[in-house]
C-alpha cells in the first residue's frame, strides 16, 4: 500500500538510507529535518552527528539526491522542554535519564508524529536499527547497532504509525548502500553521546544548569569517605571520578551504590553491593504481541542501552511493575528503562524506580 510517509532526516547515513528505501518501496515520502537547537552550531565537532547547520545541509542534500521534498521543522522548544529540561530534572532527582529514548517518545513519535498525522501523513519513518513488522518491534540483526531498547517505550499506537526501513540490515550494509545510492553521508561518522552536550562533558553541563551543591560521599556503614560537588554528577554503578583519597579497607574499587538527592548524599561500596535481583519499575507500556502480565511472565529484560540481558519474571500490578531477575545484575539505575523481550521481540517496557 502506498503511504504518505514523513521521513525524519538527521543528516546522518541511517536516516538518509531509510528515506531512500521508503521512497523506493513506492511510498510518497517527504523528508523533514528536525531543528532541535535554537542556536545551532555551524559545524560538527568530534563525532556528534546531528543538530548543526552542516547536518541540516547534509539532510537536504540527501533528500535532493533521493528526489523527495524536504523541509525543516522547528522542534527546538519542544525538545528543550521535553528532553533537555527533563534530562536536568531527572539528574537533579537522583535518577539517570536516557535522553535518546525520551526524544523518541516525546519528540519523534509524539510531537512530530502528531503534526504529521494532522497534516495528512500516514507514518513517520526513521533510520533506527530495529525491526518493525505489523506493529511488532524486535531487535536489529546488527547486535552492536540494535536500537530496539530506545524504542521500547513507544506505545502500540505510536508503533502503529512508525516505519523503520533499516530493520533487516546491518550498519555496514547501510553504509554500502548509501555509497551505491550516491549519498555523500555514506562515510559520515556515527553519532555518539548526547547531542545537546556538544563537548561531551555531562557533569559540566549539569553543573552549569544546577550549580554546585557540595555534599558527602559515604560508605554503606554511613562513614564519610569523601565529598562531591553535586550528587547529580553521579550514576549508579559509576566507578571513575569519585575522587576518594582513602582506599577501601579491603583495597577493592568502590562504586556508586545509590544517590539520595534530598540529603545530597552519594553512597559507595564494593561491586558485590551493586548486585540486585529485584527491580521495581513504573509507567508500564505493553506494546508487543502478548498482553500485560498480571500473572508472572518469564521473559528477558534489558536494563540499560547496550546492556546485558537477564532472564526474569515480570508482573504488572496497576502502574507498578515487579521484576524478579534470574541472576544478579549490576549498575541498575533509577530513571533508565527496563525493556522486556521474548527472544528478540519487544513486549513492553517500564521506567526503573528502585532495585534491590
Amino acid at each position: 500500500m502506498r503511504l504518505r510517509v514523513l521521513a525524519a532526516m538527521s543528516g546522518g547515513v541511517d536516516s538518509a538510507v531509510a528515506a531512500a528505501r521508503a521512497a523506493e518501496a513506492g511510498h510518497d515520502v517527504t523528508g523533514v529535518h528536525l531543528a532541535l537547537s535554537a542556536n545551532p552550531q555551524s559545524h560538527r565537532t568530534g563525532a556528534r552527528g546531528c543538530c548543526t547547520i552542516e547536518d541540516s545541509r547534509d539532510a537536504r542534500r540527501a533528500a535532493d539526491v533521493i528526489g523527495i521534498p524536504f523541509y525543516i521543522w522547528d522542534m527546538a522548544e519542544r525538545f528543550q522542554r521535553d528532553v533537555v529540561e527533563d534530562f536536568v530534572s531527572e539528574y537533579a532527582a537522583g535518577r539517570t535519564p536516557n535522553p535518546c529514548l525520551r526524544c523518541n517518545e516525546k519528540i519523534k513519535f509524539e510531537a512530530v508524529l502528531d503534526r504529521a498525522l494532522a497534516l495528512g501523513f500516514d507514518a513517520v519513518a526513521t533510520g533506527h536499527h530495529a525491526r518493525l513488522v505489523d506493529g511488532v518491534l524486535s531487535r536489529s540483526p546488527d547486535e552492536g547497532k540494535d536500537q530496539s531498547y530506545v524504542l521500547g517505550v513507544l506505545t502500540r499506537e505510536q508503533l502503529g504509525h512508525a516505519m523503520f526501513p533499516l530493520g533487516d540490515s546491518t550498519k555496514a550494509q547501510v553504509r554500502q548502500e548509501a555509497a551505491r545510492r550516491g549519498l555523500m553521508v555514506a562515510d559520515k561518522p556515527d553519532s555518539h553521546d548526547i547531542c545537546f552536550i556538544a563537548d561531551g562533558d555531562t557533569r559540566g553541563f549539569l553543573e552549569r544548569r544546577l550549580g554546585t551543591a557540595p555534599g558527602p560521599i559515604v560508605d554503606a556503614s554511613g562513614e564519610v569517605v569523601g565529598s562531591h560537588e553535586g550528587a547529580y554528577g553521579f550514576t549508579v554503578g559509576q566507578r571513575k571520578g569519585l575522587h576518594i583519597d582513602r582506599p577501601a579497607p579491603d583495597g577493592r574499587p568502590r562504586y556508586v551504590l545509590s544517590i539520595e538527592p534530598v540529603s545530597n548524599t552519594v553512597t559507595v561500596g564494593p561491586r558485590s553491593a551493586l548486585e540486585v535481583t529485584t527491580v521495581e519499575a513504573v509507567r508500564p507500556v505493553w506494546n508487543g504481541p502478548v498482553a500485560a502480565p498480571y500473572e508472572p511472565l518469564a521473559c528477558m529484560v534489558q536494563l540499560r542501552a547496550h546492556g546485558e540481558v537477564y532472564g526474569c519474571r515480570v508482573q504488572v500490578s496497576g502502574e507498578q511493575v515487579h521484576v524478579a531477575l534470574d541472576s544478579p545484575a549490576t549498575g541498575v539505575a533509577a530513571g533508565q528503562a527496563a525493556v522486556f523481550y521474548l527472544e528478540d521481540t519487544v513486549i513492553g517496557s517500564a521506567t526503573i524506580a528502585r532495585a534491590a
Binding site: P40, S56, I72, W73, R78, A118, L119
Partner: protein
C-alpha cells in the same frame, strides 16, 4: 504535475532576450579592461549594457556601478556611505525597520563593530515610513546622520514607500539617501534622476535577467568607500573583472521590463486583485498584510490565523503551488518576520504568513490553482495547529 509558480519575488524566469544576449557573449573571449581588440569588443558590450540600463532607469551611464547582485549593491551603499561619512564625523544610520536583510544586516554590523548608531525608522501597520518619522529622526541632530536607507518597495508585504518625499527630506540636510529598488524595477516606474535618491540598488534576476549580477546606481559626487578593493574597474568604487555575459543579459532584461512596466502593472494588478478576492472568499478570516493600495502589483501577502506558514507552504507545494513564507532562515528554521513584527503583528500572526508573488509569466490559471486548493490546505494546517 503541473505547478503554479507564485514566487516571482524570490526569482523570476529569465526573459528570452536576456538569455540570448547572455549566451551570445558567453562564447566570446575578452576582458573588458584589456587594451587589445578582444578586450575592446567586450568593453563595447559592457558599455552598451551600462548605457541601456542608464537610459531605462533615468540615470547617466557613469552612475551605473555593476555588482554581483542586490546584496553586494546594498552592502556597498550602506557600508561604503557610512565609511565615507564617518570620516566627516557622522555616525548615525537611519534605516527603515522593514528593510531586506541585505541592507539591515550591514547596518547592524556597522553598529556592532564600527561605532555606528543604528536608528530604525518606525513603520505604520501597513509598513510605511512616514515623512514625519524621518524628519524628526534627522532633526534630533542633522549633522550626525551618515546616511538614510529606505527601500522603494518591500520584498515581503509589497508596501511602496514614499521614496521621493523621504529623499527630499534627507537632501534638505545634505544627507545621502539610499534605496533598495530590487522589487520595484519592472513593476513600478523607477526614474533615478526624478526620485532624488543618491544610491539605488538593482538586481538582475528579479527583472528577468541572470542571477549573480546587479548594480548600484550612484549619483555623481557620491563616493562610497569601496567594499571590494582591487583593480578599481567600476569608478574605483567596485573592483573585479566585469561579468560581461551577465551584464549583457541584465541590460536586456531591464530594458524590456521597464518598457513593459505600465502594461505589466495593469495586468498583474488585475490578477493579484482576483487572487486576493478569491482567497478571501475561500478563507474568510484571512488577513491581507501590507498597504491595501500602494503595493507592488504582483504582491499578495496574507496571514492565515491558526496556521503555521511552514505547514501551509509544504501542503501547497504538494499541490503544485510554489510560494514563500517570506521570512528569513537560519539553518532553515523560520524566524518570525521582522517586517511583520515591525508592522505590529504578533508572533503568531507573523508565523502564519504566506507570500504569493506574480510576475511576467503568471496567468489566470496560476490563480485558479492556488484559489482552488487553499481552503482545504488551510483547514488541514489548522488541524496541525501552531505547535
Amino acid at each position: 504535475m503541473e505547478s503554479a509558480y507564485l514566487d516571482h519575488a524570490a526569482t523570476t524566469p529569465m526573459l528570452p532576450e536576456a538569455v540570448e544576449a547572455m549566451t551570445a557573449q558567453l562564447g566570446r573571449v575578452g576582458n573588458a579592461s584589456s587594451l587589445h581588440t578582444a578586450g575592446r569588443r567586450t568593453r563595447q558590450v559592457v558599455e552598451e549594457a551600462r548605457e541601456s540600463i542608464a537610459e531605462a532607469l533615468g540615470a547617466r551611464p557613469s552612475e551605473v556601478v555593476f555588482t554581483s547582485g542586490g546584496t553586494e549593491a546594498d552592502n556597498l551603499a550602506v557600508k561604503g556611505l557610512y565609511w565615507s561619512r564617518r570620516a566627516k564625523g557622522a555616525n548615525r544610520i537611519l534605516i527603515s525597520a522593514v528593510e531586506h536583510h541585505a541592507t539591515l544586516d550591514p547596518a547592524h554590523w556597522l553598529g556592532d563593530h564600527q561605532g555606528a548608531v543604528v536608528e530604525p525608522l518606525e513603520v505604520d501597520e501597513y509598513g510605511r515610513v512616514h515623512p514625519q518619522t524621518l524628519r524628526a529622526a534627522i532633526e534630533r541632530d542633522p549633522g550626525s546622520v551618515a546616511l538614510v536607507s529606505v527601500m522603494w518597495a518591500n520584498n515581503e508585504v509589497g508596501t511602496v514607500q514614499p521614496v521621493r518625499v523621504l529623499a527630499a527630506i534627507a537632501r534638505d540636510h545634505g544627507i545621502p539617501f539610499h534605496t533598495d529598488a530590487v522589487q520595484a524595477v519592472g513593476q513600478l516606474p523607477v526614474v533615478f534622476a526624478d526620485a532624488g535618491v543618491d544610491a539605488l540598488t538593482l538586481s538582475g534576476h528579479k527583472v528577468g535577467g541572470p542571477m549573480g549580477t546587479g548594480a548600484l546606481l550612484l549619483a555623481r559626487g557620491i563616493d562610497p568607500v569601496p567594499v571590494l578593493h582591487g583593480g578599481g574597474q567600476e569608478r574605483d568604487v567596485r573592483s573585479g573583472t566585469l561579468d560581461a555575459p551577465s551584464v549583457a543579459g541584465m541590460a536586456a532584461a531591464v530594458r524590456i521590463a521597464v518598457a513593459r512596466q505600465a502594461e505589466t502593472a495593469v495586468r498583474l494588478t488585475a490578477l493579484r486583485d482576483d487572487l486576493v478576492t478569491r482567497i478571501r472568499q475561500a478563507v474568510p478570516d484571512v488577513i491581507l498584510n501590507g498597504d491595501p493600495v500602494n503595493r507592488l502589483p504582483g504582491n499578495a501577502h496574507f496571514s492565515f490565523p491558526g496556521c503555521e506558514g511552514d505547514a501551509l507552504l509544504m501542503l501547497l507545494d504538494a499541490k503544485g503551488v510554489e510560494c514563500s513564507t517570506g521570512s528569513a532562515c537560519s539553518a532553515g528554521v523560520a524566524q518570525p518576520s521582522h517586517v511583520l513584527l515591525a508592522m505590529g503583528a504578533d508572533a503568531v500572526r507573523a508565523r502564519g504568513s504566506l507570500r504569493f508573488t506574480l510576475g511576467h509569466t503568471s496567468t489566470p490559471s496560476d490563480v485558479d490553482r492556488v484559489t482552488g486548493v487553499i481552503a482545504g490546505v488551510v483547514e488541514r494546517a489548522r488541524r496541525a495547529g501552531l505547535t
